[in-house]
């Protein structure tokens, strides 16, 4: 899967978790917790949703990278099966 496709999936899942925010409007390296007011429960749900959708096992230690859209995209591009 191309990084652009992964990125689109990350944004989709953020929208699913928090339908009232607009992740398309923020930069790839902005912390979504600050920019979109997401909390640790939202990040937990994002990691769980991406794990289920993409079938990638995301270790807890890597979850820290999922607080930016860019960080999540590049981790998944590097470690994903596809």
């Amino acid at each position: 899967m191309k990084p652009a496709e992964i990125r689109a999936i990350v944004i989709e899942e953020i929208e699913e978790i928090a339908p009232d925010v607009a992740p398309v409007s923020i930069g790839d390296h902005e912390d979504v917790r600050e920019a979109l007011d997401l909390d640790s429960m939202d990040i937990f749900n994002l990691v769980a949703a991406l794990h289920e959708r993409l079938g990638v096992d995301i270790p807890d230690a890597a979850a820290g990278q999922f607080v930016t859209i860019g960080g999540a995209t590049s981790w998944l591009a590097e470690h994903g099966k596809c």
Partner: protein
């Protein structure tokens, strides 16, 4: 024959509007089924039934506002034999005593100003922030085109609508700064709390590394959906500690404290864009950490979508407010009447920490207890906070 009545969904509710029937006459219902949607100042709430039977007559039409306790429907005992009465109704009836005097007058905030919930919630999704802004501006979210996932109406859609002529209701709606329904509910409950409850506050700082290390280890062995957040451990340790301190779990009503045996901890959940709600996880002390985590995830998600169940919003016996990772060191929370205690947990922060005559850097948490001095005292409150710390630092026992 049983009667299904307008439930009291919180200390400050005097009336509610029946929005939608989800069951029809002749439908068989069992304890816990959601049979109606009621709009209150806390938003649209799914209301459960507490007995088994067959729906008889529907006595109130959708769109009607009625006082708490009004009969909404009759329920006939199932299949000729009297339905086993589950234990919950006794508990709930003690919880849902109608309010007296002042509380009712105060609770009679202008419910007619609250926008009605959408009729078909399956088809129309509206984010809480969007609903709030729409209500403030007299806009019906059902008339907007949602641009969110599955066509959900988002804040931006409402903002766009406000800029279009003709969408905003003119006249009274805009004259006074109309606080949203949720804000009014918070205002009523918190003002009553500060007026009536003699609060005292205790704070306790402790090294939480044992818990954090344990959760890290636990999570490293499990796939993402089965992992834990610190919040689940906080709820469980408070619940277990409360079993030994009954004077902190229950309600202060009619000039006396009435302890409640079951421990239903309300979790203060912030709504993005403003407001909060504190629905309960029932029987918190009996759930394992993993069960608690599943319930907490579900509750946060539904609260932010504005979907509570009546049993969650109506009967928390005590509340926990946790600031999470982006908060500040500590909070001094305000008790939700008629409860008599609320616990606050600040963000975990690294601090210099004296230990074995040496200085170390440790993750430190500050726990706070606000107690109602009419029901409990600082000495026992301090023992309670220490007990919570002890339980929290042995997470494998939780």
């Amino acid at each position: 024959m049983g009667v299904f009545t307008m439930p009291s969904l919180g200390a400050d509710m005097a009336a509610g509007t029946l929005v939608e029937w989800l069951k029809a006459p002749g439908d068989i219902v069992v304890h816990g089924d959601i049979i109606a949607v009621v709009e209150t100042d806390k938003g649209a709430i799914d209301v459960e039934v507490f007995e088994d039977g067959e729906i008889g007559e529907l006595l109130v039409d959708p769109g009607t506002q009625v006082p708490v306790g009004t009969a909404l429907a009759s329920i006939n005992g199932a299949a000729g034999e009297p339905a086993d009465r589950p234990t919950a109704p006794e508990l709930l009836s003690s919880v849902e005593t109608p309010l007296a005097g002042d509380s009712i007058r105060e609770a009679l905030i202008d419910i007619s100003a609250i926008p009605p919930a959408q009729r078909s919630r399956g088809e129309l999704r509206v984010s809480p922030a969007a609903r709030q802004l729409a209500g403030k501006n007299g806009i019906d979210p059902a008339k907007l085109r949602g641009t969110g996932p599955s066509g959900a109406v988002q804040l931006a859609d409402v903002e766009n609508a406000i800029e279009q002529p003709g969408m905003v209701a003119t006249s009274e709606a805009n004259q006074a700064p109309d606080l949203s329904a949720m804000r009014r509910a918070i205002a009523a409950a918190m003002a009553r709390s500060k007026r009536e409850i003699p609060h005292y506050y205790l704070t306790h700082r402790f090294d939480i590394s044992a818990t954090i290390d344990w959760i890290e280890q636990y999570n490293s062995e499990r796939p993402p959906p089965e992992r834990l957040l610190l919040g689940a451990a906080l709820l469980k340790s408070v619940a277990l500690a409360l079993t030994e301190f009954p004077e902190f779990n229950g309600f202060y009503r009619d000039d006396q404290f009435v302890p409640v045996e079951a421990i239903h901890i309300g979790s203060a959940i912030a709504i993005r864009g403003g407001g909060l709600a504190a629905p309960a996880i029932r029987n918190t002390d009996t759930l394992s950490l993993s069960e608690l985590m599943v319930k907490l995830r579900d509750l946060v998600a539904r609260t932010r979508r504005g979907q509570f169940r009546s049993s969650e919003i109506g009967d928390p016996t005590v509340t926990v407010s946790s600031l999470g990772e982006r908060g500040v060191e500590s909070l001094l929370p305000v008790i939700y009447p008629p409860q008599v205690a609320i616990f606050g947990f600040g963000s975990v922060q690294e601090h210099p920490w004296a230990e074995h005559d040496a200085l170390a850097i440790r993750p430190v948490m500050t726990a706070t207890l606000a107690g109602d001095h009419r029901a409990n005292d600082g000495h026992r409150g301090a023992l309670l906070l220490r007990r919570i710390e002890a339980l929290l630092l042995q997470p494998e026992e939780l």
